[in-house]
């Protein structure tokens, strides 16, 4: 947790405020998409191509996010139909069957026990909402749904903390040991020397706060000077942290330990843990089926709001770059993300396609985009001007010690973490300088293969799809490039 909170302070808060500020600042030039923002802020012809990451990331994540959204809706329905919530259901097996993790193409089924029908429903719901502009209603609804989700989470938390030792004959799998599994610090000094720990903490912060996605900057570009980006950014961060640390940290892992034991948690992916463990908790609760339905349905609504937000950077980009209307922009995105989502949906065995895109887009690219944003804030716009922009309309001040953090510490920290991440998580360095060995990790071997294991076709296709999306976006950026370059020049001349 020490590494986690240091990462939150150094990179989480820094990038969060940088994105809010840069987005609003670029919005004054009349641009709302990441490539255009980079073009007008850096004022170099090549800059716009850097900004393409801010389009590829939300589109890439959207492609698998709607699939996970469909799991949430499907689980809610499973509680209604009684497939979940009754005694004796093997939650892990149910998850594997439901999402089609056993075999490619297995998820393309349209009974209520398979995810297929929910994928279709969720996909069309997303585009219906964003196309018809009914999303405002969703936002209004979520004003009630999100607090409800937190109330439900608190009820689940109370149940988890009062479970005692739920597995008969295994008193060691208790609440206190579950909490200890999550919170006991161990050998702190030794752990803090482990670069893997810092990399995991940084990666978690990126995903928790949605920084480095390119979404915050687009939405911030619609704000005015009267809006308070400092308190908005801090409140969003605080709410995310409360849900993750205050609720998630006390529920999922401790509950997983109580039912599965430490050994049982090994190899459980992030997604698998929530969808496999929480149903077990619900089965030990009074009115468990009701709470299970409510929890997954509210989670589905929360996910819808997130996925809708992932579409806006792409929509804004296509509108600006091609000078087309919103409807046409949405139509292009329907086709593009539809192809990607169908790919993830079909290649569901071991969730390989989802996992590959999540790794390369949801981890690798986010690191780069986050680094670009903080460098843009501290070194291109300039730290003094950046702070001045951030404080327009703000009722609270960013503490002064964030000046050196945002200018020097955060970029250096990100650079070190990124180099270590490449060395350890991609190249599989053994951490030794003398007798150094490199054994590329699974994600790399999936692409290049090894003498003993052939490359994974699905992983290669997943990366190929993302490369195609990138090329498509780069071509469009190139078409729009001159206009954006001129825009920044004219604005610059106008300011003189």
């Amino acid at each position: 947790m020490i590494a986690y909170f240091i990462s939150l302070l150094i990179i989480g808060m820094s990038i969060c405020w940088a994105e809010w500020t840069l987005g609003r600042y670029a919005g004054r030039f009349g641009v709302h998409s990441s490539p255009a923002m980079f073009a007008v802020l850096i004022r170099k012809p090549w800059a716009k191509y850097l900004g393409v990451l801010g389009i590829i990331i939300p589109i890439g994540i959207y492609m698998y996010y709607v699939y996970i959204e469909a799991w949430c809706l499907g689980y809610a329905v499973s509680y209604l139909t009684g497939d979940l919530g009754r005694p004796g259901v093997d939650a892990g097996q149910h998850f594997a069957n439901f999402v089609g993790a056993t075999k490619d193409g297995f998820a393309i089924g349209f009974s209520l026990k398979q995810v297929g029908i929910f994928v279709i429903a969720v996909y069309f719901l997303n585009f219906f909402l964003i196309y018809r502009g009914l999303a405002r209603g969703i936002e209004l609804f979520c004003k009630f749904a999100m607090p409800s989700l937190i109330v439900i989470a608190i009820i689940i938390l109370i149940r988890v903390l009062t479970l005692g030792s739920p597995v008969e004959g295994k008193p060691e799998l208790s609440v206190l040991n579950g909490l200890g599994f999550m919170w006991n610090p161990g050998e702190v000094a030794q752990q803090l020397k482990n670069p893997q720990l810092w990399m995991a903490a940084a990666g978690q912060i990126f995903f928790s706060l949605s920084v480095g996605f390119g979404i915050i900057a687009t939405y911030a570009s619609y704000l005015t000077d009267k809006d308070d980006v400092v308190l908005s950014g801090l409140t969003a961060t605080a709410a995310n942290e409360f849900c993750e640390v205050g609720l998630g940290g006390l529920i999922t892992l401790p509950a997983g330990f109580m039912f599965l034991g430490a050994a049982g948690l090994v190899g459980q992916g992030t997604f698998g843990l929530g969808f496999s463990v929480l149903p077990i908790v619900f089965s030990h609760m009074p009115f468990g089926a009701f709470f299970g339905f409510l929890f997954f349905f509210l989670l589905f609504l929360a996910a819808v709001t997130s996925s809708l937000s992932m579409l806006q950077p792409g929509i804004a980009f296509l509108e600006e770059a091609l000078s087309i209307r919103r409807r046409e922009s949405v139509a292009i995105l329907v086709f593009l993300t539809g192809m990607g989502s169908m790919f993830v949906w079909y290649f569901s065995q071991d969730l390989k396609a989802l996992d590959t895109i999540d790794f390369w887009v949801g981890t690798f690219m986010i690191f780069i985009q986050g680094s670009l944003m903080i460098i843009l804030f501290g070194w291109v716009v300039g730290i003094e001007k950046g702070f001045q922009e951030a404080h327009r309309g703000a009722n609270i001040r960013i503490p002064g010690f964030f000046r050196p953090i945002m200018k020097y510490v955060a970029p250096a920290y990100l650079a070190v973490i990124f180099v270590l991440w490449v060395l350890f998580n991609l190249l599989g360095w053994n951490g030794q300088f003398t007798g150094a060995e490199f054994n590329p990790t699974g994600y790399v071997l999936d692409l290049i293969g090894s003498p003993t294991v052939p490359p994974s076709t699905v992983a290669r296709l997943s990366v190929g799809i993302m490369i195609l999306v990138a090329v498509f976006m780069l071509v469009i950026t190139s078409i729009a490039g001159n206009r954006w370059d001129n825009l920044s020049t004219h604005k610059q001349e106008g300011n003189q």
Binding site: I130, E139, W183, P185, V188, Y219, L223, L234, T305, I396
Partner: protein, 61 residues
């Protein structure tokens, strides 16, 4: 659960809970702040324009 575990848990959960409480307090009590706060607003200006264009007009020939 060791003493270190208790301390880590209480400090971590206490910190994030206090921070969120303070933020909500600040938003609710600072004059005009609640009106200025923005979450993810889905009806962006381009969407508003689209709505305006779709609205039927009553122009007489």
């Amino acid at each position: 659960m060791t003493t270190g575990g208790w301390i880590t848990m209480i400090v971590s959960v206490g910190f994030v809970t206090s921070l969120l409480t303070w933020c909500i307090y600040k938003v609710m009590t600072t004059s005009g702040e609640a009106e200025k706060m923005h979450g993810f607003e889905f009806e962006t200006p381009d969407e508003k324009e689209e709505h305006r264009d779709r609205r039927p007009t009553n122009h007489q020939p």
